[in-house]
Subunit: 435 residues, 2 copies
């Protein structure tokens, strides 16, 4: 088999066989196929498209390029949740301990801040001492003991995906639905859970903004998972405004603690309950959504979920005092300033991507992979879609440590809000379920 023949075939709109895709991917990882050949192949795949069989084969080839985590010795239903990324979406911080309290094993391998979106690992690391890099043995021990662990991907997990994603990032081949689906699912399948609830974000703060595209992506990911015998569920949820009231790492941890105490924002709590109840159903811990939700609410009210979060923090060497005194033990910002509305009226729309980029400007996210995160920086948001605001009334408060990009961040945040005289209609939190 020759890579040029395969590029030629795909370029001419041919269908690649499973064997051909496996050859291309494994040769790329071993070095027999050069970067410039894989990038030509990816561009041909991007433009010509790949069908379902090719997408399944690509996912499998990427899974097989590394080690698949074997969780079979751990008893209980092993269900993970994955979000395609958004602004203020710290739901994992609540969902992991909450689901674990309800009897789900949550083997969560999370990601970092990327572009305008935040990352669970960065949020967790705003808890002093919290370790996300854990050996596989340690990880499995913790899963056995606590029923939940929240870690960084283990070494050698779908290395082909890592290499191909890095290449796509610099060759304008990222935003292809089948390539995205295969990339996400290869990692999730290699993580070894039995099932996965997908939260596919749509709207101005999502990577893929159009609802139709999100549905296509969600559907394809569900099919890929099922093709690999995973139990799958997917929701399309709203990201046309930040979720909850906080954007920024320590701020989102504090908010998560509030949600775990049943005192968090309604949209955030609703999404947590919806996603976690679906994990319970996938894991056969509950049969219907209403009963699942009721059970989860109890676990929040009783403080059981909060205690589970404390156990996770202790197990992963973090400082558990943040649970009781978040204001004292979480990193803080030296400066605060209000972000005032330019005119009076109703919040009609929010360019949420711009909010995310404004948070990156003050250090809450990364521009480059090597950038260090300022965990104290971020926004506390007072006004969301449909709210009325007076002229010069604060839309939010910015928390910052360095004055460097403060003015630009401020303008970017304020200009992301579109304020109109009349109240409009606003998107629902949850659009549709794909399963």
């Amino acid at each position: 088999m020759n890579i040029c023949d395969l590029i030629y075939k795909k370029r001419n709109n041919g269908k690649l066989t499973e064997e051909e895709i496996r050859f291309a991917v494994s040769s790329y990882v071993s070095g027999g196929v050069a970067d410039y050949q894989m990038s030509a192949m990816l561009m041909a795949m991007f433009i010509r498209g790949i069908d379902k069989a090719e997408t399944f084969a690509l996912t499998k080839a990427m899974v097989e390029s590394g080690k698949v985590c074997d969780l079979s010795r751990i008893e209980g239903p092993k269900i993970d949740k994955h979000s395609t990324g958004g602004v203020g979406d710290g739901t994992s911080l609540v969902i992991a301990p909450l689901a674990a309290c309800a009897g789900i094993i949550v083997p969560m391998m999370a990601g970092r801040s990327l572009g305008h979106t935040g990352g669970t690992l960065d949020k967790l690391e705003s808890i002093r001492g919290f370790r996300v890099n854990i050996s596989e043995t340690q990880y499995k021990k913790q899963l056995q003991k606590l029923g939940v662990a929240m870690i960084s991907q283990t070494q050698n997990l779908a290395p082909a995906d890592k290499k191909m994603y890095a290449l796509r990032d610099v060759t304008a081949t990222v935003d292809s639905i089948p390539l995205i689906a295969a990339s996400i699912m290869s990692k999730k399948i290699a993580e070894g859970a039995d099932g996965l609830v997908l939260d596919v974000k749509t709207g101005t703060g999502a990577f893929i903004q159009k609802k139709e595209d999100c549905e296509e992506l969600a559907k394809l990911m569900v099919e890929i998972g099922e093709n690999c015998s995973k139990k799958m569920d997917a929701l399309i949820t709203d990201m046309s405004q930040p979720l909850g009231n906080c954007v920024g790492n320590a701020l989102e941890v504090k908010q998560a603690i509030n949600v775990l105490k049943s005192t968090g924002p309604k949209d955030f709590t609703d999404l947590v309950l919806t996603l976690t109840s679906r994990m319970l159903i996938l894991g056969k811990v509950e049969k219907d959504i209403q009963r699942a939700k009721a059970r989860l609410k109890k676990l929040l009210n009783s403080g059981a979920a909060l205690e589970k979060f404390r156990e996770i923090i202790i197990a992963q060497k973090g400082d558990p005092r943040v649970i009781d005194k978040p204001d004292k033990y979480l990193p803080k910002a030296a400066g605060k300033c209000p972000l005032a509305a330019k005119n009076a009226g109703f919040i009609n729309s929010i360019n949420t991507r711009e909010i995310g980029l404004a948070s990156v400007l003050i250090g809450a996210g990364r521009t480059k992979k090597e950038d260090k995160i300022d965990t104290g920086a971020g926004f506390v948001i007072y006004k969301k879609l449909g709210d009325y605001v007076k002229k010069n009334e604060p839309l939010a408060r910015m928390h910052y440590n360095h004055s460097k990009n403060v003015e630009e961040a401020k303008n970017r945040f304020i200009n992301a809000y579109s304020i109109t005289e009349n109240k409009g209609s606003y998107p629902p939190l949850i659009y549709s379920e794909i399963s």
Copy 2:
């Protein structure tokens, strides 16, 4: 400007501006754009296509990536000829001295054997001592003195094309008409002639076999040249059988000497007269084809063209005795064997590419760039399209030095001939003129 944005634009079917294309090409040569980014761009260009303005810009950018040869101080019309490559096409060996005799300055920078096709430089090097690598000063001196030089491309001539072609070769992006046109024309424009006659080959022995594609390519190359103020002419000519009766380097030199003595094969001689007369017209040395052809015939009959070839050989340090005694002074093959027809009938078609590949097998061409050529090896062909052949009558004679691939070459040659009971209809030598 950012290369990812440009790849993105082309990928989404956008048109790149001249400035954008110049940025991509010059950054690629300087190293700011990586191979994997250029290969993604080339694949996007391949699939989405590039329009005329983009093709012009690409050609110019590749010309500007290196040095343009300045021939302005040499008086007289400077006209070159370029063929897209074929089997047995040694016409350059005759055209260069012949056109020079008629008052054309022929600044010929020729190529080497590639794939199934032969190369003028390899043929010239079968003349003992012949030097094709000459300094630019020396080259210009020879043009001034003899009116003709036949050399390898000077250093730093369209380096972007060299780098991009090498990349296309290993990423399945060679066979794009605009990319081919820009590649050929960038080199020809950088060579600095005033005009160019293109011989675009069609048929089983051509790189681009379909006549319609050849016409498109020829038309585009003419437009590119004219866009750069070059006088252009192009012919589509037949390559559905080898040209003349010889395939192989020394054999083709001997045949060229015969043509220069007016004793060469008719098809070869006709093509030489047609192409050269068009060079005379482009150079305004003659006004019509008939008069040009009559003049060229005289130059062959008088021996003037042959003497010019002798002068070239002497100037470029070759052994001029080949002119009078080619059999004695050209390399020969140790072994010869007839290639017998498998059945009786008329030669209906010839897979000419297979003839070229058979010649590569016995060392007359290259598989890899580094391969050394066996200049004595090749075929002398007795039977061409429309000829009648008896069973076991020789179609050709194979000349070889090494027994290694002899059997395979023999079979490949014989099987390339399709022999049928009835006489068919055969393609003309010259199809159409694009100018």
